[in-house]
């Protein structure tokens, strides 16, 4: 998604000179296409994320559309209050671009694992929160949202090869994108871990269970109507996210089920405890938190075996 972002942004910037790119000294061997084409519109802000967001606020008030780039934890958590009091409060078109949500920086440890970014951004009603599932959806999302008048947070993965089978680059603003139309269980997934949810649906089909995978790529504003329509017709749902189970898509699904009084039982799949210090590859981290295809399929089967509503 990082390559898709830089390529798409460079194209958009050629057509609109309001676009600027600011980085917190990250993006080596990634941001060069933009820098080489528009050196006067690229700013390495140094290792100073608070100032980066503050400067972006001043730039946006004067008419620019600044993209603020860093690893997701540093882009969101360090300058969080600057984001709140700056672009959100002033309703300015600053784009916070957080790279590598969840466990994409697996071996780097908790400091680099964004497992609460969606939650802390989603609770702010003044910012759109977009977390694409693959690079094709990322490109579509950036193209369809870049000129939104308010702020946006994009959580983008590093992977520019994997595609989610059946998603075909779809991005439905304010809605969800579904794969399959099973009626036994819905797997509601966000971010690059969605590919595991689609694979889990295949495993479930082999076990005689029909599943729908729903990709939620816009968490704020919440695609409430679309989610409610989906969850109304399935007795079980799993939320799937490389994120704490509180605050992200799991919480969103729970809110929709509760507020719409839907007869659907939810199991939230995600991270439930703070790091114990042991890290490893993204695959290892997903396995530890039950987010691999086999782990998700087992959780779904167990949920189906329990009494319903």
């Amino acid at each position: 998604m990082r390559g898709a972002f830089v390529r798409t942004l460079t194209e958009l910037a050629a057509a609109d000179e309001r676009i600027l790119l600011l980085t917190g000294d990250l993006g080596f061997m990634a941001l060069e296409p933009f820098h080489d084409r528009f050196p006067g519109r690229f700013f390495n802000m140094g290792v100073a994320e608070q100032n980066m967001v503050g400067v972006a606020t001043g730039l946006a008030e004067a008419g620019f559309v600044p993209y603020v780039y860093s690893i997701a934890t540093f882009a969101v958590l360090r300058p969080y209050e600057f984001i709140r009091n700056g672009p959100i409060w002033h309703a300015l078109p600053v784009r916070i671009v957080g790279i590598g949500g969840g466990f994409e920086y697996g071996t780097q440890g908790l400091s680099h694992h964004a497992v609460e970014d969606l939650g802390v951004m989603r609770i702010q009603p003044g910012i759109r929160v977009i977390a694409p599932a693959d690079h094709r959806q990322a490109e579509a999302a950036i193209r369809q949202s870049w000129d939104h008048p308010g702020p946006i947070y994009y959580r983008l993965g590093k992977d520019d090869r994997t595609t989610v089978p059946g998603l075909d680059g779809r991005f439905t603003p304010d809605g969800i994108d579904t794969i399959g139309d099973g009626t036994d269980v819905a797997l509601v997934a966000t971010g690059s871990v969605a590919v595991e949810a689609v694979a889990a649906a295949d495993l479930l089909r082999e076990r005689g269970v029909s599943a729908t995978v729903a990709i939620v790529s816009t968490l704020q504003p919440a695609p409430e109507a679309a989610l409610a329509a989906l969850l109304r017709r399935v007795p079980r749902a799993l939320s799937v996210e490389a994120h704490y189970v509180t605050g992200g898509v799991g919480s969103l699904v729970a809110e929709v089920i509760a507020e719409h009084a839907l007869p659907c039982r939810l199991v939230r799949c995600g991270v439930r405890a703070v790091s114990d210090g042991r890290s490893g590859s993204q695959q290892y981290m997903h396995a530890r938190h039950g987010l691999t295809r086999t782990g998700l399929a087992e959780t779904a089967l167990a949920a189906l075996a329990r009494p319903g509503t």
Binding site: A48, Q50, G54, V55, G58, N85
Partner: protein, 261 residues
């Protein structure tokens, strides 16, 4: 300010008095453009809790009416204790210290990129410089030689719980900004004419900072250097004495009203 502070029954009057001459110099001597002009200079009140002084300046500049001013801290008013950009004449909402200089640096960079002669003024407190983000912005503005940016620091030596030198020393303030590459001017923060002349003469590629020596609660004897006026509303007697010392006329609406709200 005394009248509105009494009417509203809120604190921070000491801070507003501390910056009054600084705000007067910026607003009357250098700040250009009406609030609806996109090419106006920008004024970031990073020391948001002193915004009452800016409301007074906006009133004197015919941006706010007496009626607007009388709404200070009333229910549903845009004139709160801290500035709101929804109010005409306020460029940026603030209230959390340490954020305004970055915004001002962005505004100055924007002016350069757009080839505009806009200038940017940022009013800061001395204790605000406890915030690390101030120094991130200081580095950035100096590195990019943002000469359109001017910070005005209200160096009154006091902060919320005592003297800055006792809590987290910022001394020597001017040398710190010099070391960060700024064009530094140490000035008397209550000599409005000289402040104006200094501001008007600022020139060069380096960002500018006025380290303005001020007195917290300036102009009211019992408030000067008295920390409690960071917090307290005035009693009726306080109000009468303050107005007397400032040679102002009491307003009946204020005298006799309870100070506790």
């Amino acid at each position: 300010m005394i009248e509105q502070s009494k009417r509203a029954g809120v604190g921070h009057i000491g801070s507003a008095l501390s910056v009054a001459d600084l705000v007067a110099a910026v607003c009357s001597r250098v700040l250009r453009g009406r609030p609806d002009d996109p090419e106006r200079d920008r004024f970031v009140v990073s020391k948001g809790h002193a915004v009452l002084a800016v409301y007074a300046a906006l009133y004197l500049g015919d941006v706010l009416t007496q009626q607007d001013l009388d709404g200070y801290c009333a229910d549903a008013s845009l004139l709160g204790v801290h500035p709101e950009h929804a109010l005409t004449g306020i460029d940026f909402s603030t209230g959390s210290l340490g954020q305004g200089l970055s915004i001002g640096a962005g505004a100055a960079l924007a002016a350069r990129l757009q080839g505009s002669p806009r200038r940017v003024y940022v009013l800061m407190s001395d204790a605000e410089c406890n915030e690390g983000s101030v120094w991130e912005a200081a580095m950035f503005a100096a590195h990019h030689r943002l000469g359109a940016l001017t910070a005005v620091i209200d160096l009154n030596g006091q902060q919320a719980m005592g003297a800055t030198d006792d809590i987290l020393s910022l001394t020597p303030m001017a040398a710190r900004w010099q070391a960060f590459g700024w064009d530094v001017h140490e000035v008397d923060g209550h000599d409005e004419a000289r402040l104006g002349a200094t501001l008007a003469a600022l020139d060069g590629e380096r960002p500018h900072v006025l380290v303005a020596h001020t007195v917290f609660g300036k102009g009211v004897s019992f408030m000067e250097r008295q920390l409690k006026w960071h917090y307290l509303p005035m009693s009726d007697d306080d109000y009468r004495q303050a107005m007397q010392e400032l040679g102002a006329t009491e307003t009946e609406a204020c005298a006799g009203r309870s100070s506790a709200r």
